[in-house]
Amino acid sequence: MAENKKVLVIGGGFSGLTAAVEAAEAGFETVIVEKTPFLGGRVTQLNKYFPKLCPPNCGLEINFKRIKNNADITFYTLAEVEKISGREGSYDVTIKISPRFVNDKCTGCNACNEACPVEMPNEFNFGMDKTKAAYITHNQAFPFKYVVDAKHCKGASCAKCVEACKYDAIHLDMKPETVTLNVGAVVLAAGWDLYDVTKLDILGGGQIKNVVTNMQMERLASPNGPTGGKILRPSDGKEVKNIAFVQCAGSRDENHLPYCSYICCMASLKQATYLREQYADSKARIFYIDIRTPGRYEQFYWKVKEDTNITLTKGKVAKLTEDPATGDVILVAEDVQAGKKITERFDMVVLAAGMVPSTKALKIPGEISYTDDGFVVPGTLKKGIYAVGSMKSPVDVSKSVQDATGTAIKTIQSARR
């Protein structure tokens, strides 16, 4: 048998990691190309997974350990695929690697961060706090290697970080690099972005301070988030005692996302438990069209419903306004089952915003066809190219893992040719 070809995985989120690790553990060399400076993707921003309420970093730790212990897996961060050409069994791939300005000598000691004078909005926390231009996203980040943000760094004129680093790890003159690879199969695992809530005009259009997205809520509840895990509202740092969740904020709406984003019902139920766990006297109300907790997730739904301080109301919220005096959010919905249009006041409102495949905005090069919504159409992919997880349809972590594991076997079929 000829030598096995490599498998290229585009995206180092949970889907991509899984596909890469699973293929590698069957004896195939895999290469991960990740756009951001760190692996792990979206799940690194989550506080807990539904329905077990366990931390995502637990599974990530295991997968990172699998990567550390497997010489067959390599990865590039800050890397993007520029070109894919060829056919199944032999794809030529060009990868552009942007400079990290930090090399492998970095020990993770944090001296650069302390020295850096530049503050920038912390994207990892969706702008809810600030970080330095020399930074690491969080203390369980992988690789545990700092990065200097190209956009915000003042460059050689400042170079305070360079001075502070005792290990010769920071070089502000690093240049982009290009790597070419020949691989047998390509996995598209570029993940997803949250729907831009500024487009939801009747829901405040992103202008109401105490209306946050579900992903911001994850960060607010995370121990490594902007509030150290305390759920405080953005306008005044007040403890949130009365919260509403607006389901289908963008999803199932042909003016925005015509599909169901799959995760939001479970996510809101889960987030209601975050609040309830923190404040005994808190109340949560979830406004929905249909509660979608498929399979055994139903049991989680039942358990959450048992809490009498969590109520569920059928009826989509279609109006949010701000009470400027208090910062409270005024919500209008129809309680469909009661047949009443209701107006209520909340400390904070969470928009259960939907999932947009990252390929909606940024197409992967190659002959790949997409739906109007940016999803990859699996049936139209060339042989040897496979899409996983949220590239094809909105999915949760479990389904991403299933899909990525299943995709791994297809990649080794292609790489074996």
Binding site: I202, A318, A333, E334, G339, K340, K341, I342
Partner: protein, 367 residues
């Protein structure tokens, strides 16, 4: 609450679908429409519930249902509907069914609101007018009374208008009784409600609540008051000729009240109609172009105005054949407006007024 027996009616569904509600099956009952609607009361709000009733073909739910008439077709609901179910248009289609329910003979509703029959309907009216025998090109100065004498017009138009009004009034009576039966409301302040209703209609308050299609306010306002102006002009004519037995005021100079009302009305109606057409096109991407039902009324109004103005211009220009022909068309359309009053979309004049009044009467008015 007693158990209701639900009887889905596929025919009703198809009628609504074919009557401009073709999108109604897309609704998945999220209730966005009810929330964005600024006109609905909070209690038992519309149009979400009407959508599911229509989807199930629950014809009887619409008997005595004031809510479809409380809808002013702002189409905020349609703009924000996540499914493209266009509740505003669907309610329009249901209103057509409601007109059919209350405006007897129902057959006339079918004839008026059918693309196939409408040419015949207009031909019939043209034939009716032709019976005067004076419809020919007269030599000399163009004088429209030569063409159709005031007496003739009175003989034909007055009964037709009275018929239209009578049908409408009878329909409202039935509708009122049905609303009472449907809601269980038996008493209220009728006089006060009527006064309040008149105030509301005259002020066009509800139209000012529209968000997405705010232009509708101006358009409807213009059309509404222009009709009043034209009505006043006509009434003055009747006053001069029939009551005071004076010379027809229409022959007097331009500065007289009759002419003034006539001109204001004509200009307003013309502008209003054009605005309505413009609005339809402006929002067509999201709201659709509207149904036949909508366009029939718009067309009649537009033709009346266009023909009226053209007849006037051609008369001044002295082009007799053209002037008389256009005037004839004008007469046919005015007559159709009168006759179709309770059968076309114009029927809303009766039913919406009644529904608004009933809402006040039953005390359901949003505080």
């Amino acid at each position: 609450m007693a158990e209701q027996v639900i009887k889905p009616d596929l025919n009703f569904i198809n009628e609504v679908i074919n009557g401009g509600g073709e999108s109604m099956k897309k609704c998945f009952q999220c209730a966005t429409c009810t929330v964005v609607c600024n006109v609905t009361p909070d209690d038992n709000p519309f149009p979400r519930k009407e959508m599911v009733w229509a989807q199930w073909g629950l014809k009887e739910k619409f008997i005595g249902n004031p809510d479809v008439w409380l809808c002013h077709q702002c189409n905020d609901c349609t703009a924000y509907c996540p499914r493209g179910a266009k509740p505003g248009e669907v309610l329009g289609a249901i209103r057509k069914q409601s007109i059919k329910q209350y405006s007897a003979p129902a057959a006339l509703v079918n004839f008026v609101n059918s693309k196939a029959y409408i040419p015949i309907m207009f031909l019939l009216l043209a034939g009716l007018l032709s019976m005067a025998g004076t419809f020919k090109i007269h030599d000399g100065d163009i004088v429209f009374t030569k063409f159709a004498s005031t007496q003739f017009l009175q003989i034909v138009f007055t009964p037709v208008l009275l018929f239209g009004i009578a049908v409408g009034v009878l329909g409202v009576k039935k509708f009122w009784a049905d609303m009472k039966a449907a809601t269980g409301v038996t008493s209220g302040d009728l006089k006060g409600s009527i006064t309040e209703t008149a105030k509301e209609i005259l002020s066009h308050k509800k139209f000012t609540m529209c968000d997405v299609n705010a232009d509708r306010f101006i358009a409807h306002f213009l059309v509404f008051y222009s009709f009043i102006a034209l009505g006043i002009a006509t009434a003055l004519g009747v006053l001069y000729i029939d009551i005071l037995h004076m010379e027809s005021p229409f022959r007097l100079g331009y500065g007289t009240p009759v002419k003034l009302f006539g001109f204001i009305g004509a200009a307003g109606l013309f502008t209003g109609a054009l605005l309505m057409i413009n609005n339809r096109f402006k929002h067509s991407a999201k709201l659709g172009l509207g149904s036949y039902f909508d366009w029939l009324l718009i067309t009649i109004v537009t033709v009346i105005m266009a023909s009226g103005i053209l007849a006037w211009i051609t008369r001044l220009a002295g082009v007799a054949p053209v002037a008389y022909s256009i005037y004839f068309i004008h007469l046919v359309f005015v007559l159709s407006l009168f006759l179709y009053l309770p059968f076309s979309k114009l029927g809303h004049l009766f039913y919406r007024s009644a529904a608004i009044c009933f809402m006040k009467y039953s005390g359901r008015e949003k505080k």
